[in-house]
C-alpha cells in the first residue's frame, strides 16, 4: 500500500473506491443530505473536512491506541471533529447553519469516516492518510452533488432553488423521498461502474478457465460470474 503514489491514492478515493458509489458507505447520510443541491454541497464539504482531520489523527495515533479500545477511541476523535465542524459552520456560515443543523450531527454516524479509518488510516502513514481522506472526501462530495442535482431537478423541478423544469411538467415528489434517493444512487452506481469498466480493459477472469461450464457460459470474457 505504501508503494502507491499520492496521485494513485487520491484517484483511488475519488473513483475506484468512491465511498458512496463503489464501496456503498455513507448511504444513510447521503439520503438525508441530498434533497437540495446547496445543502448537499455544504454537508459534503463538512464531511471532507472531518474525514481529512480524522484520518490524520487516527494515523498519527495508530501505535498509541491499543487494539482492544480502537473503536471507542475512533468514535471520540470523529465526534470531536464533527463538533469542530459544527462550531466552524455556526461561526462563519450562519445562513447555511440554519438548514444544515439537522444534518451535521449525523456526520458522526456517517460510516465513511469510521470506515476509512478502519480500512486505511490505521495501517498507513500520516501523509498518505491525509491524501486518502482528501480523495475520499472529494469522491463523496462529487457523488453527493450528482445525486442531489438529479433528485432536486426530478423531485422539485428546481436546481439550487431556481426553476429549471417547464411549469407544464409536474415534478415527481417521490424523488425527494427515501425510495427516490435509493433509486438515483443505484443508477449512479451502475453508471460509474460502466464508465470505470470502459476505461479499463476487460481481463479474463481466472476462475473461468477452470470452470466446467465455461464453454457454454455467456459471461466468459465479461468478467465472469463473480459479482
Amino acid at each position: 500500500m505504501n508503494r502507491k503514489s499520492k496521485r494513485e491514492i487520491f484517484l483511488n478515493g475519488l473513483l475506484y473506491e468512491n465511498p458512496l458509489l463503489i464501496s456503498a458507505l455513507g448511504i444513510c447520510s447521503a439520503l438525508s443530505m441530498t434533497s437540495k443541491t446547496a445543502d448537499a454541497f455544504w454537508a459534503g464539504l463538512t464531511v471532507l473536512f472531518t474525514l481529512v482531520c480524522t484520518n490524520v489523527f487516527l494515523s498519527a495515533l495508530k501505535r498509541v491506541i491499543p487494539a482492544q479500545v480502537r473503536i471507542p477511541c475512533s468514535m471520540l476523535i470523529i465526534a470531536t471533529f464533527v463538533t469542530v465542524g459544527q462550531l466552524l459552520s455556526k461561526a462563519y456560515l450562519p445562513s447555511m447553519d440554519q438548514s444544515l443543523s439537522d444534518y451535521l450531527p449525523l456526520i458522526t454516524a456517517n460510516c465513511i469516516i469510521l470506515g476509512r479509518g478502519e480500512i486505511f488510516a490505521c495501517r498507513n502513514s500520516i501523509v498518505n492518510s491525509a491524501v486518502d481522506g482528501f480523495g475520499c472526501g472529494c469522491g463523496y462530495l462529487a457523488a453527493l452533488l450528482a445525486t442531489a442535482m438529479l433528485r432536486e431537478i426530478l423531485g422539485s423541478g428546481t436546481l439550487l432553488g431556481l426553476r429549471v423544469l417547464s411549469t407544464n411538467l409536474d415534478p415527481v415528489p417521490l424523488f425527494i423521498m427515501v425510495p427516490g434517493g435509493l433509486f438515483v444512487i443505484g443508477i449512479l452506481m451502475a453508471l460509474l461502474k460502466k464508465l470505470l469498466s470502459l476505461s479499463k480493459p476487460v481481463s479474463q477472469n481466472a476462475i473461468c478457465s477452470s470452470c466446467p461450464a465455461s464453454p457454454h457460459c455467456p459471461r466468459v470474457g465479461k468478467g465472469g460470474c463473480t459479482r
Binding site: L25, I27, C28, S74, T108, V178, G181, G186, K193, R227
Partner: protein, 198 residues
C-alpha cells in the same frame, strides 16, 4: 402511548431502515450470505437493547442530577462504541470466519444511525424506561425485518441475469428503493388500528 403501538410504529410505519433511511449501509453490505445477515441483525438488535438499558439509568441517575448535559452525546457514542468493541472481540475469538465475512461492517455498527437516533430520541422525548425499551426493541426488530426481506431479495438477484454494470451494490440499491416504496404503504396503519392521529 401503549407498548404495542410503539412496536408497530417502529417496525412497520416508521421502519428505521426503509422509511427513516438510517443504517442502509449494513443492509447492503452484510446481506451477502445467510450467516452474515443473521449475525448482523442479531448484533444490531442486541446492541440497541443493551445500549438503551445502559444509557437510560446513566441519563436519569448521573447526567440529570449533576447537570452534565454536555456529556449526553459523548456518553451515548461511548456506550455504543464500547459495546461494539466487545462484540468485535467476541466475534474474533469465537467465530473468526464470521468476523472476516462481516469485515468492515461489524465495527461500523458503532456508527449505525438507527441505534444512535433511537437512543437520542428516547432521551429528548423523555420516554419512560418501558417505553424506551419498547422503542429500542421495535427499532432492532425493524432492522431484522428489513434485513430478512432484503436477504430474500438478494437470493433472487443472485440467480438472475443482471446487466454487467448493475451487478453488486447498484442492483441492491434499486431493490432497496422498491422495498422502501412498499413500506410507504404502511403509513396510516396506526390511525387505522388505534383510531387516532399520531
Amino acid at each position: 402511548m401503549n407498548l404495542s403501538m410503539i412496536l408497530i410504529s417502529a417496525i412497520l410505519v416508521n421502519n428505521a431502515v426503509l422509511i427513516k433511511s438510517e443504517s442502509v449501509c449494513p443492509l447492503i453490505g452484510a446481506s451477502g450470505s445467510d450467516r452474515s445477515a443473521a449475525a448482523m441483525s442479531l448484533t444490531v438488535l442486541f446492541t440497541t437493547l443493551t445500549a438503551q438499558a445502559i444509557i437510560w439509568p446513566i441519563h436519569y441517575y448521573v447526567i440529570e442530577p449533576f447537570q452534565l448535559h454536555y456529556l449526553e452525546t459523548i456518553s451515548t457514542v461511548l456506550v455504543v462504541a464500547g459495546l461494539v468493541q466487545a462484540e468485535e472481540l467476541l466475534f474474533s475469538s469465537r467465530w473468526p470466519a464470521l468476523r472476516s465475512e462481516l469485515g468492515i461492517y461489524l465495527p461500523l455498527t458503532a456508527a449505525n444511525g438507527a441505534i444512535l437516533s433511537v437512543l437520542s430520541e428516547n432521551l429528548t422525548d423523555g420516554n419512560s424506561f418501558a417505553d424506551s425499551m419498547a422503542y429500542a426493541l421495535g427499532t432492532g426488530l425493524a432492522f431484522c425485518l428489513a434485513m430478512f426481506l432484503f436477504r430474500c431479495i438478494r437470493m433472487k438477484l443472485l440467480y438472475s441475469d443482471i446487466p454487467e454494470s448493475f451487478r453488486g451494490p447498484a442492483s441492491s440499491m434499486i431493490a432497496a428503493a422498491i422495498l422502501a416504496l412498499v413500506f410507504m404503504g404502511f403509513s396510516g396503519l396506526i390511525e387505522g388500528l388505534f383510531g387516532m392521529g399520531m
